[in-house]
Structure formats: C-alpha cells, structure tokens
C-alpha cells in the first residue's frame, strides 16, 4: 500500500536517476494481448510529457535504490556524497508503474540502480522486478533495464527475456580517464555485459530460423551513454567510439550527456558554470549524420578537425570543407548527394526524388516542401537558378567557403564571435 512516504522516496530516486539520458520507448512493436495490459508502438515511441528542461518523459525513469558502493567522481550517487538515500520496495515500485501506466502517464519503466553488495546481487533484484511485472502484473508495455557493469552472463540472459531494451553506460570514452575518475570500474566491466546482450540477441535470431516459438530477447536492442565535457576526450574520440558501436549489431542508440557539475568539490573534474549544451547538440547532430545521412565518421572528424565546429552544424561544416562536391543538381543527382546538401533533410530529399519524376523542381517548390533555402541556395542548382534571366549562379564555388561561412551565421552568433575576439584582443594588448 502506498503512503505519503512513497512520494518522498520517488522524489529522491527520480532525482538520482535523472542524469541518465535515455528515455526512448522506441524500437519494438507489440500489440495488446487479451489478459495483459499495454502495448508498444514502435517507430519513434511516445513521449508522454516534457519536463521544464525540455527533455522528454516517456518511461518512468527511476532507481530502485541510490545507495551505491562505488565512488565514481562524475556521479551524483557516489558513496562519499552526502545526499538523501532511499530504496523503493518491490511492491511499491510495481504498483507505481502499473497505476501510472493505466493513467497514460508513461510508456513503461526504465529501471536502474545503485550497486549494492555486488553487481550480481543488484542485477538479480532488477531482473526480479521485470519478471514480476511481466508474469504477475501481466504488464505488456515497455521495459528498459540497466545492466549493472560486471553482472554475470546468466543474469543478463534472464533479464533479456523480460526487457525490451537493455543498456550499459560507457560514461567515459577512454579507459585511462575512466580509471582516473572511477578507479573501481574498467572498460571490461562495461563491454562484457554489452557482449552478453549482443550474443543473446544473435542466438535468439538464429533460434527463430529453426524453432516455431522462441521467446523474445531484448527486441529493441541496446543503448549506451557517454558523458561529454567531464574528461579531456575530443569529439573525435567520442565519435569514433560511437561509430564503432553502431557497426556492431544490436546497438541502437548512443546518448551524449553534457556534464553537469554535480560534485564541484572533486578536483579531478572541471568546474563548469553551464553544461556544454552546444557541444552536446553538435554531437547529436553528428550522430544523426552517421545514422540517417550515410556519413562516415572520418568525414565528420579527422586529424585536423578533432573537435566539432561549435558555430555551424557538422553537415554544413563538412560542406564548407568540400566545395568540390557542389553544386548538386536537384533535378539530376542521386538521393545520396541531395541528402548531403545543408538545409535538406531526409524528408525533403525523399520528396524531391519523388516529385522530380513528374516535372522539374524549382526553388519555389523546394521552399514549399520545407527546404531551408537560406542555407541550401549556395549548394544547389535547380530549374530557375540556372535560368539565363536570373543572372549567374552564386554558389559556394563562386563565393569561396571562407567568405560564405559568415553569411550562414546568425546575427547572435556573429556577435558572440566578435565578443570573443575583442576579449582575446584585450588580453594581447
């Protein structure tokens, strides 16, 4: 039975869980069953609300307990932190999930936990809750289980039967940095459970070929998260790792979490006034280029460009470095090339290749379809831009990238850059 004290516990445990980014309920379609509650919709999932920080609330993101035996410098729940600790009982948590779900507050549960006693003990408790929800409460909605670093193969295999998605957080892309901040962890404890999940999914796939009834195993694959800005890793290090992870089967999402200075007293960590939100945003944009725009990681970052450009998005930055790829002819060039034009997204690119079978596409059509012409016009030729009456085409090759770049910045950005220049000038004088 729930009481007022449950409210306080939920508050503490939600605050402990909130730095985990993942919240998506995507990746698996399962329609409702008689005698069970819930379904999953697939596609991009359903976000039921948006918190005041603009992040979506899809799953009930909560920790079973925020007691933890580890002392990782970047984590709010580290052993040496003096924060309120709480533990939800199994029945409390299960009741909250079911009642929230029935009121259409959430898509399901994202359960994680501080590590108590040892990884296996903790993992076992998480698995038990997922099992109870599925078998006793007949819950058919989404379950995302955090796999505790260092958990055994057996427990992960069992968890996979009940969870839709599982995740292990890498947190720090380079092992030496991880060792510095979290001496009790290493990359092996992270990549091993990841391997177990992958194994399980692949075995499951193989079984399906031969057997009629095979239980589902983590149908929505796995995800992971990296903290940005807590350690000296460059964007190149981060993106190379992401790209390697995406090349493995079953890895669906890599999340980037701009470091929020939670433990300001720890001298191993930088003190940031603001989380690096712009950098985080650029990393997500680069991530999108990898997943939906057929970009190779080496095209986004390389030896000379180890960090992403904070002023322009990575696609535009790539285009400015590669004027020889432009202009792209909207009416002739293939989909892949159109997709690379700054200002044209997947949706517009598809609309363009579909519509040009009927008639020539002009800049009027592009604008109507939602292409950002302010950017795209320097990189394309289409119907009337090559028209002899409208004068010569002014594109990236005529203006030159270094003179085009300022044209594409907003006034606010220009002002910021100017301020930065003046500041450094004062120092020099």
């Amino acid at each position: 039975m729930l009481t007022e004290s449950t409210i306080e516990k939920l508050r503490i445990l939600a605050e402990s869980a909130k730095y985990d980014v993942s919240c998506s309920s995507s990746g698996t379609v399962r329609s409702g069953k008689k005698g069970m509650v819930g379904n999953t919709v697939g596609g991009v999932g359903i976000c039921h609300s948006f918190a005041d920080d603009g992040r979506c609330i899809s799953l009930l993101k909560v920790m079973l307990t925020n007691y933890c035996m580890y002392d990782c410098a970047y984590c709010i729940n580290r052993r040496s932190n003096d924060i309120k600790r709480a533990t939800l009982s199994v029945s409390e948590l299960e009741e909250i999930v079911m009642e929230f779900y029935r009121r259409n507050y959430i898509e399901g549960l994202f359960l994680s936990s501080g590590v108590v006693r040892n990884p296996d003990y903790t993992m076992e408790r998480l698995v038990r809750i997922a099992q109870d929800l599925r078998t006793i409460h007949r819950f058919n909605g989404y379950i995302h289980l955090k796999s505790i670093p260092g958990a055994s193969r057996e427990l992960i295999k069992k968890a996979g039967l009940y969870a839709d998605r599982m995740s292990v957080n890498i947190e720090i892309p380079k092992e030496e940095s991880l060792k510095l901040l979290a001496p009790e962890k290493d990359h092996k404890s992270v990549f091993e459970p990841m391997g177990f999940i992958r194994e399980g999914v692949l075995e499951n796939k193989e079984d399906k070929k031969h057997l009629k009834h095979v239980p589902r195993f983590v149908p929505a694959g796995q995800s992971t998260q990296m903290i940005v800005g807590a350690t000296p890793e460059t964007d190149k290090d981060i993106l190379l790792l992401s790209s390697a992870l995406y090349n493995q089967p079953t890895m669906r999402r890599v999340y980037y979490s701009g470091y929020v200075s939670v433990n300001t007293y720890d001298s191993r960590l930088p003190v940031l006034k603001q989380p690096p939100l712009v950098r985080e945003n650029r990393l997500y944009q680069a991530d999108w280029l990898l997943r939906f725009y057929h970009f190779n990681v080496n095209e986004i970052v390389d030896e000379t460009h180890t960090n992403l450009d904070l002023d322009v998005d990575p696609k535009l930055a790539w285009a400015l470095r590669h004027p020889e790829q432009f202009p792209v002819d909207i009416n002739k060039d293939d989909y892949e090339r159109i997709l690379r034009v700054p200002g044209i997204g997947v949706k517009s690119a598809l609309q363009i290749v579909n519509s040009r079978r009927f008639n020539r596409i002009t800049s009027y059509h592009l604008k109507k379809m939602g292409v950002v012409m302010k950017k795209a016009k320097y990189f394309i030729t289409c119907g009337e831009l090559t028209n002899m009456f409208s004068g010569p085409t002014i594109g990236i090759n005529e203006i030159h990238p270094e003179r085009l770049r300022p044209l594409l910045l907003s006034d606010k950005q220009k002002k910021e850059i100017n301020d930065r220049k003046q500041l450094s000038f004062d120092f020099d004088a």
């Binding site: 005698g35 379904n39 603009g54 507050y105």
Partner: protein, 260 residues
C-alpha cells in the same frame, strides 16, 4: 464562375467529384451549404450527397492511389479546415486525370497534393500528441476518464490505440471541443454524447473529474506523478522554449502535471 456546394461530409465531397466528371465541368470553388456566395458567380450547383455515387468514386480511387494516398483524403478531411476542401477536391480529380503510371500522391511539386499531404501530416501529428498527452483519472467504479481538446477531429484516429493498450479497463475519452466521446466497455468502443442539461462528470475548464466520483487513491497517484515530474528536471538545463515547442501550452489545461 461555377461554384459547387455540398453538405460538408466526405460522402458529399466524393459526390461532388462524381458530378464534376458526370457533367464534364470543373467548378472554380467548392463551398459548404450556407457559405457566402462569391460576387461573380454565374451558376451554383448544389451537390446531392448520394452514397452510391461516393462509393463509385471511392472504388475508382482505390485503383488510382495507394493506401497512404487514400489516407491522405480521409485523414486530412478530419482537419475540419474547410478552406482546404477545394484542394482536396482537386487532389481527387487530379488522381483520376493522372495519365502517369506513378501515383499522383508522390508529386509534391503540385500545390494541391502538397497542401493535402501537409494537412494530413498535421492531423496525424496531433493524433500522436493526443496519444502522448491524454491523462486518465479513475472513478470510484473503476472507469477511467480522459478529456481532450484537440484542434482537429482526431478522436476517431486514436481510439484504436487506447483500445489495444488498455483492453482490460473501461474508459471514456471525451472531446470537450466537439462534445462527443467514445466509451469502451472492454468489448468495443461506442460513440456517446451528453444530452443538453445533463451534468458532465468533469469540469469543462480543467478536465478534472468531479470529486464525488473520483476514486480514493487517484489523488495520491496524481501527487506522485506531479512530484516525479518536478524531480526529473535538471535545473541547470532549464529550457522552457523547447518544452513549449514539444508540448504546446494549449494542451496543458487538461494535463495532470501542469495543473495546480
């Protein structure tokens, strides 16, 4: 100038297409009965809604358009933006006249196709938002009530989702703007309305269920949810602009976590 008028139903719209082909004429506008007639109007043709005609037109359309193309017609009609009627009418006519093997619905450089597709997307988007933002409250007898106030008439589009998801609970979803709802009794959903003078089981302004029929522990779960909503926000990253973009303010009045 030739004007067609119809009775503002989808069958009526399809009958108008039938008439247009039958008389070999293309009207310059399609109005609903009762609209102001434009100044230089030579002739008005009043379309009589006839199910046989509309069925014939629909059957023909099935050969011309894909499933999505047909959905664009039915779903964009739910937008209730009646100034789009003529675009929809031309879209259907163009589908029949299209000599190409490729279906007309892919030609986004055609203004009518583009407009109908964009309307279709907007309606689908709002249907999705209702799936996101609808909140149920539980009554003493175990029935759940959710009140919505969508811009477009999306209730018919979302009812199957909720039937599938909550197949073991009785619920009523009510559209406060159009004054009708669907009641699901664990078997099937039926359309209901409250008659004039009947007291509504909820407050029209806030969507809150009347306290005498609200179940005893519902308040507790509402408080739990509000607490959770506040706790999950990271103060260092406040971003009200993004919040309002993803969850527009016009939906807030019926949402538990945004009520005081």
């Amino acid at each position: 100038m030739l004007v067609y008028t119809f009775d503002n139903t989808l069958d009526g719209l399809l009958s108008a297409v039938f008439d247009s082909f039958y008389y070999h004429e293309m009207p310059n506008d399609l109005l609903t009965a009762g609209d102001a007639i434009p100044l230089f109007c030579d002739r008005i043709h009043e379309v009589h809604t006839d199910e046989d005609k509309s069925k014939r037109v629909w059957k023909g359309l099935e050969n011309k358009l894909s499933y999505i193309g047909l959905s664009i017609i039915t779903i964009s009609f739910l937008s209730e933006e009646r100034d789009k009627n003529y675009a929809l009418f031309s879209y259907i006519c163009k589908a029949f006249k299209n000599p190409n093997k490729i279906s007309i619905e892919k030609n986004f450089s055609d203004p009518d196709v583009l407009l109908c597709t964009q309307t279709y997307r907007r309606v689908c988007y709002e249907a999705k938002r209702m799936k996101q933002f609808l909140r149920f409250q539980q009554a003493k007898d175990g029935t759940y009530l959710g009140v919505i106030h969508p811009d477009h008439n999306v209730l018919p589009l979302i009812i199957d989702h909720f039937k599938d998801r909550f197949n073991d609970q009785c619920f009523l979803i009510f559209d406060a703007k159009r004054k009708y709802g669907y009641y699901y009794d664990k078997e099937e959903a039926s359309r209901i309305t409250f008659s004039e003078g009947e007291t509504l089981p909820f407050d029209n302004e806030t969507g809150k269920m009347n306290s005498d029929i609200l179940s005893d522990n519902d308040k507790l779960f509402q408080d739990l949810w509000k607490t959770y909503f506040k706790a999950i926000c990271i103060k260092e990253r406040l971003n009200p602009k993004k919040q309002a973009g993803d969850m527009p303010r016009r939906y807030w009045k019926y949402m538990t976590e945004k009520q005081n």
